[in-house]
């Protein structure tokens, strides 16, 4: 018995020293900046770290559907609302929650928009066990930075300098038409949501409530990733949780996606043309909430104008066309209506 107690004590001591060691070496591996060079993965999503404190009013969370569909610079251009896309490829809810926590450290978003593609996406317990401790022991996430190790860095505190011009949006100019067959075919069935996903969704909602943010669920158009079963489940979830839900795959939102030219990869993601439509719709919705300010003429937001200039120049160079603002587009449409009518 004495031996067992002694060995148990040894085991506990060994584990505690190990945890302390891992915690200590974590410091060496934490990225010292949020540039692409320092932050190998998802650096655009982490661009918010360099944004001025409390300057972002809307946070978009989600997987690649977000960074291909929502252009915060265009929303700024239309309404002066500042937003950011913390979206990463194949993002899962555990990672979304981490972004949310990190975002609240320096920002106070009034609205958090959660793209629903990831809500129903399965993630394994393996993922959870691997990634959950990363928050406390960053070496587990950033261990691969040994490839960039330098002694100078060890004594340097992190300083974030990279501001993403597009605020997390990815500009895609390719066109690859989608096959719409079976897209949003009517059914009463509901897609499955795991208990784990449900738990995380609740945690995201609680976090938003604690910080006074309004949580909104958004389904961006995608023939490959979205269907009626998923819509039905998300609709039910939104009702249960008492939060707004916008499904831009449904006809009532009249986003008018042209699947022959608004997608970059056969309906999986939208390209710039599709993103313009979604962005204008979500921008209009956000503006209609009446809780978000127009920062266009405020001091400290000059870099947003630079971003808009870059967007205009990229549209011109990559698409060989002029940038059309939401307002101009609307005016053009308004003119077309009586003529056509």
């Amino acid at each position: 018995m004495k031996e067992t107690i002694k060995n148990t004590f040894k085991g506990i001591l060994f584990t505690l020293i190990l945890l302390a060691l891992l915690w200590s070496v974590s410091w060496i591996f934490i990225p010292r900046n949020n540039t692409q060079d320092d932050w190998k993965y998802d650096y655009t999503a982490n661009g918010f770290l360099a944004e001025p404190d409390n300057s972002l009013d809307v946070l978009f969370l989600g997987d690649s559907e977000v960074f291909s569909s929502i252009n915060p610079v265009r929303i700024w251009d239309s309404y002066g609302i500042t937003s950011y896309c913390c979206s990463t490829g194949k993002q899962r809810l555990w990672y979304t929650l981490e972004y949310l926590y990190d975002f609240y450290k320096n920002q106070s978003p009034r609205v958090v928009v959660l793209e629903t593609d990831l809500i129903l996406k399965y993630f394994s317990i393996d993922d959870l066990i691997l990634h959950a401790p990363e928050h406390y022991l960053p070496v587990l996430r950033y261990h691969d930075r040994w490839k960039k190790f330098s002694f100078d860095e060890v004594f340097r505190t992190p300083q974030y300098t990279y501001i993403d011009d597009y605020k997390g949006y990815h500009f895609y100019s390719d066109i690859d038409a989608a096959d719409e067959e079976g897209y949003m075919e009517k059914t009463d069935e509901r897609a499955y949501i795991s208990k784990m996903n449900r738990l995380y969704l609740n945690a995201i909602l609680s976090c938003c409530n604690r910080n006074g943010s309004k949580l909104i669920l958004l389904s961006t158009p995608s023939t490959k990733n979205w269907n009626m079963k998923k819509h039905n489940r998300t609709q039910q979830l939104s009702e249960e949780l008492g939060i707004d839900y916008i499904d831009m795959n449904m006809p009532e939102y009249s986003v008018d996606i042209d699947w022959s030219k608004d997608t970059k990869d056969k309906g999986d993601h939208l390209n710039y043309y599709g993103a313009v439509k979604v962005t204008d719709a979500i921008g209009e919705y956000l503006n209609s909430l009446g809780i978000l300010s127009d920062h266009r003429n405020e001091k400290g937001y000059a870099h947003w104008k630079d971003s808009l200039d870059k967007l205009k120049s990229d549209v011109k160079n990559k698409l060989k066309t002029e940038y059309v603002s939401a307002e101009t587009k609307k005016n053009q449409k308004d003119k077309e209506v009586p003529e056509n009518g």
Binding site: E3, N7, F14, I17, L18, L21, L22, V25, F29, K40, Y41, S124, I125, D126, D127, I129, L130, H131, E134, V139, L140, R141, Y142, H143, D144, W146, K147, Y192
Partner: protein, 543 residues
Amino acid sequence: MDLSFLLAGAGKTMTSFFSMTYLFVFLPVCLIVYAITPKKAKKYVLLAESLLFFWLVSGVLVAYLLLSAVSIMCLGLLIGKLQEKQRAAVKELPKEEKKAVKQEFIKKQRAVVFLGVLIHIGLLLVLKYSGFFLGNINTLLAAFNCPVEMYVPSFAMPIGISFFSLQALSYIVDVYHGLVKPDKNFARLLLFLSFFPQIVEGPICRYGQTASQLWEVGSIKYRNLTFGLQRILYGMMKKLVIADRLDPLVKKVFDEPNSFDGGVIILAAVCYTVQLYMDFSGSMDAVLGTAEIFGIRLPENFERPFFSRSVSEFWKRWHITLGAWFKDYIFFPVTSAKRMKNLTSSARKKLGNHFGPLVAGGIALFCVWICNGLWHGAGWNFIFFGMYHFVLILSGNIITPASKKVLQKLHINASGLGYRVFQIIRTTILVIIGELFFRANGVGSGMELFGRIFTDLSFRSFDEFLLPRLGVDIFDLSICGVTLLIVFAVSIINEKGVCIRETLAKRNIVFRWCVLYMLILFIVVFGAYSFGYIPVDPMYAQF
């Protein structure tokens, strides 16, 4: 309530013994439950944990395991009954009649063994090979413009069927040979088949080796716990730091056989051989380490194979338990068959004492290697892999006298270090060529890759763009190199008969813990996991 998980199993990622769920949930919970269970009930807990593990990774397919256990128990008891009857029947008989009666009973026992083979090999043939065979028949029919096309079925296969089927068969044959007594205890037999650390990737154990050990398990001892965990850590280093890090490079080259020149193909073939060894032997370290925690000694599957001086020796050091199984249950039965014995004696007269036995031995060797190839997978490249080794081993046996003479004439000392190193390098090259075909996506692709080594042997691709194209960088290759040196050093020490864990255990606690912390930190920092890496399934689990 959705109960589909009951059919599907709820822990498919646990097929890897380095998966987080296995290492940090399943194994610790199993050990705690096992530790707090009274001694008498420990074996039942171990069985329950094993079945739970199998259900988690295979779901409802656990039924195959149960079917296998039930069948070998019944057949084993039947053989035992026949043996008892045989003993009773021949007891009173005169000597001349004994033989005939004995033969009669042996015939019956053989029929029972045949039934066991039919159940297990038949099941394997249907589940694993029917698609391959029927697909080939369809190709053949199409080649002769035959309008008939056979339906090619596809079955869900339980994890580890290739492993536990061989264990089950060995039990029946061992009972038949009187090496083990037929077991009346179904739980013991089931535990022998299903012991959770070994069910996914082996080793392929014999009933005599593990059944009683498993049934007489005791408390977890501190020494076993630390030794077992140390071995798991060492295996984890092999798998995470080397095998998984090389995966993108190997995948890229083998999936695009036309895109690279001979130099890159050689690099990929070497990397794949290293990857396979580190993956499989690393997993074996985890298996044997886990078993060691419970105080169970499973047979080793690797004995430093890359120190082998011939291909034949290589296969005595690589996947030892599979090689031993084929030797005991295919090679020996074939060579000891009456017709083969006759063939050997007549061949000996005509061809001499060296070449004579090689005729029957060659036939048996052919059977072994066709089975070995097919065991690894239903594909022509696996058959080619088997035949490649058959030819190498047989020709090695044939040329032995001639090579001895050549060595004598050239005054080369066969036991000298220089010649030994030459043999080791030669064997390694031959093994790497075999592994190239083993990994290739079909024989055609293997031929294409192998051909390019000769027709397009240049190193023009080795520029600054090559490594990014292969999904790795110079740091990846460097850390693999450093870790391989560690494995090499450990292998040399083990080859000399020194057990590093024993040596470490004799040192003071500070030194011991420092070594362990260094190993853990090494894995944590240099392992290929988390962001930027896709988890790689254990390579032998798919066989």
